[in-house]
Amino acid sequence: MKKWMYAMLLGLLFTPGIQATETNKAIVVYDDKATSVGAAKLTIAKPGDLWITLADLKTATGFVNKQQGVCRDELCFPLPKKRRAEFLQAQGKTTWFNLTEFARLLKQPVAYDAAQVAWYFGQRPEVQNNYTQNFQAPNFTLPDKNGKLHSLSDFRGKKVMIVTWASW
């Protein structure tokens, strides 16, 4: 290894000014998918708040912070300009995102367990209630007992009766 490479490595190790924020291991369940994330212990955090990195935001929810708002595919939610600090906090090279505040903005129901450090994010009301306006049967994909997946949409073109039951 060349001398300048050692110098660079040392430089990286001892760069002053970058404070690592302490994080807790947390679970985010979003769209019924569970992801392990790092929850930042920010001094400004209110109880039940969940601040995560933008990388974790993308992995757990598919949302990305962009110029025009927080977006997933074609969907974009602009953050209220005056309340930006309630959603985004920069610390050194890390930007923390308040996922629980974002859920409040979107009117998503959120359930939280402090001891298990787990958050469950429900559907946005306009998604959940869409079918009560247009009566299109909400699609779902579920396995049969052999694990083969079937979707309601596979049956389009036929009359379908869905019947739920239970062993309990």
């Binding site: 959120v110 779902f140 049969d144 007992k145 079937h150 009359k159 869905i162 739920t164 239970a166």
Partner: protein, 201 residues
């Protein structure tokens, strides 16, 4: 009703998954598609409050009869207090006539019957979702307060109650049992009665 472009999709709302629902699937020897819904996705998507619940969906994927009690015969009628025969006849009529059937609801009736979730119900659904996650990942005890919260926020939902009670000693953990709760109904029907159109002869 086979060969009439009609399919039954039977869905087990079971946190226990194939282990819980499997023996029932075997016993039923179903000729239709049977799915296992460990996360109660369908209950939550369609705001179902009970089992068995049926939804009729037409060729275009549109709901023509929303959530209704769905027994295939009257064997359990003394307990269920549901005479399912008129409803089964309605199903036959719809399978034959499609949207022209009097049993396929028109827009007006659907508007009256299919309501958006209120915020409490939405939160109940999230609490139930969290409870399911905790239970499935081995934190059964931690799940209980969230099952209870779901039950408190949406007391009409029997699925949220019965599934939770079935996962533990309900007397000990919830201070009640299904039988106790049914007794409390004091003659009030457990299932919302069918509201079918009058039959013309």
């Amino acid at each position: 009703m086979k060969n009439q472009n009609f399919e039954i999709l039977s869905i087990a709302e079971d946190t226990g998954g194939v282990k819980a629902a499997g023996p029932w699937i075997e016993a039923g020897k179903a000729e239709y598609t049977v799915l296992v819904d460990k996360q109660h996705v369908v209950t939550r998507l369609y705001n179902m409050v009970n089992v068995p619940t049926a939804v009729w969906i037409n060729e275009q994927g549109r709901i023509v009869r929303p959530n209704e009690v769905a027994y295939s015969n009257n064997k359990g009628m003394s307990v269920t207090k549901v005479d399912t025969e008129p409803w089964i006849n309605g199903l036959r009529d719809w399978v034959k006539l499609g949207d022209k059937s009097a049993f396929a609801m028109r827009e007006q009736e659907l508007r009256e019957r299919v309501k958006p979730q209120n915020p409490d119900w939405a939160l109940a659904s999230a609490e139930f979702g969290l409870a399911e996650y905790l239970y499935q990942t081995g934190s059964g005890e931690a799940a209980i307060p969230h099952y209870k919260e779901a039950q408190r926020l949406n007391p009409e939902n029997w699925n949220f109650k019965r599934q939770a009670w079935a996962l533990s000693n309900s007397k000990e953990k919830y201070g009640t049992t299904f039988t106790d709760e049914v007794k409390k109904l004091n003659g009030k029907p457990y299932y919302e009665p069918h509201r079918l159109p009058p039959v013309k002869n």
